[in-house]
């Protein structure tokens, strides 16, 4: 898939995944990659940035096996941003899809 498409939508997908339930890095990357096939390395810088923008907060939680893990949780600010982004995405994808449908009708 086009990398420009991916970049735009990646933030939205990451937020959506974190908003469903608190999650640690590896699990998050796995879930995001099922939707958008990106390089695993690109998600961490994004997580870092969004944490610094206060969309996410992190905490450590003991795991059943091995050392404690860093979990991500969405903040109120993050939720607000997610709702806004989702709305934008739906409107945007709808209008693009409509535009393509018109093209098919014309032919």
């Amino acid at each position: 898939m086009n990398t420009q498409f991916k970049k735009g939508v990646l933030e939205l997908v990451v937020m959506e995944v974190v908003s469903r339930h608190d999650i640690y890095g590896y699990e998050l990357v796995k879930q995001v990659c099922e939707v958008v096939h990106v390089n695993e390395g690109t998600i961490y810088p994004l997580l870092k940035r969004m944490t610094n923008e206060e969309y996410f907060e992190t905490y450590l939680k003991e795991s059943s096996e091995g050392p404690s893990r860093k979990y991500y949780r969405i903040t109120v600010k993050g939720l607000e941003q997610l709702i806004e982004l989702k709305k934008e995405w739906l409107e945007f994808s709808y209008s693009v899809n409509q535009f393509f449908k018109e093209g098919i009708k014309d032919e």
Partner: protein, 264 residues
Amino acid sequence: MNKETFIANLRSKLNTLDAKEVDDMMAEYSEYIDDKINDGATEEEAIEGFGNIDDLAYEIIDAYKVDKEETVQTPKKETSSQSNIAPKQSSSNVIDMLIEFIQKCFDYIGNFYHDYLSHLTTGEIIKLLIIFILAITLIRIPLALIQFFIIFIIDFVTLGTIQGLVEFIVGIIFNIVYLISIVVISISFYKGLRDKGDVDFSTLFKSPFKYFSGKKDENDQSTNDTIDMVNDTINTTVTTASKAIEDIIAKAKERTANKAEKGE
């Protein structure tokens, strides 16, 4: 590549970032690799998932830049809100502004030196100063003569208290004219330095001379000849003078060096 070399490699590429932040990030990457291995991948595969290490480092630094701007903005917001709560701090704000202004001035002087003067030798800078002082002094002489002449006439025409007042006003006017001419000279110096970067009477003054003598005379050979002549005379005088000063400085340096040697 194994996990340790990957982490070390990545860390070395992030040395411009805050060490604590990098530690934090590296811990997370290593946790991720461990998780992936637990999930059945080999160490090699887990690391390959990150792709090119240079691209990764670039993206991390890129992401970090955004939050650096954020952290720069947040303290500013705090100070502004503090000053809203406590108006007493406004005086310190004025001082801050003043300090900032002075710093800007120093920055400007530093930049000016770096851009226009740093390629010049000490001799050339001395020459520049001499030309500047010479220009300022020379321009004072005709002004003083005219002022003297006008006051001389006023002495004849007026009497008593009016005389003093008129002389006072004439004095102020002439000082203003002098100040304006100093500003004009400074600007022409600035322009001459900016355009040519050479310490030469002609390059420092030719453009304002041309400007003042009118654009119609641009091809007037006699004006250029006069300028060249004046330039030559001043150049030789100033060069000798600056050389003499340079010699004095060199000798002084030698003396201090000698004294230091003797002291040891």
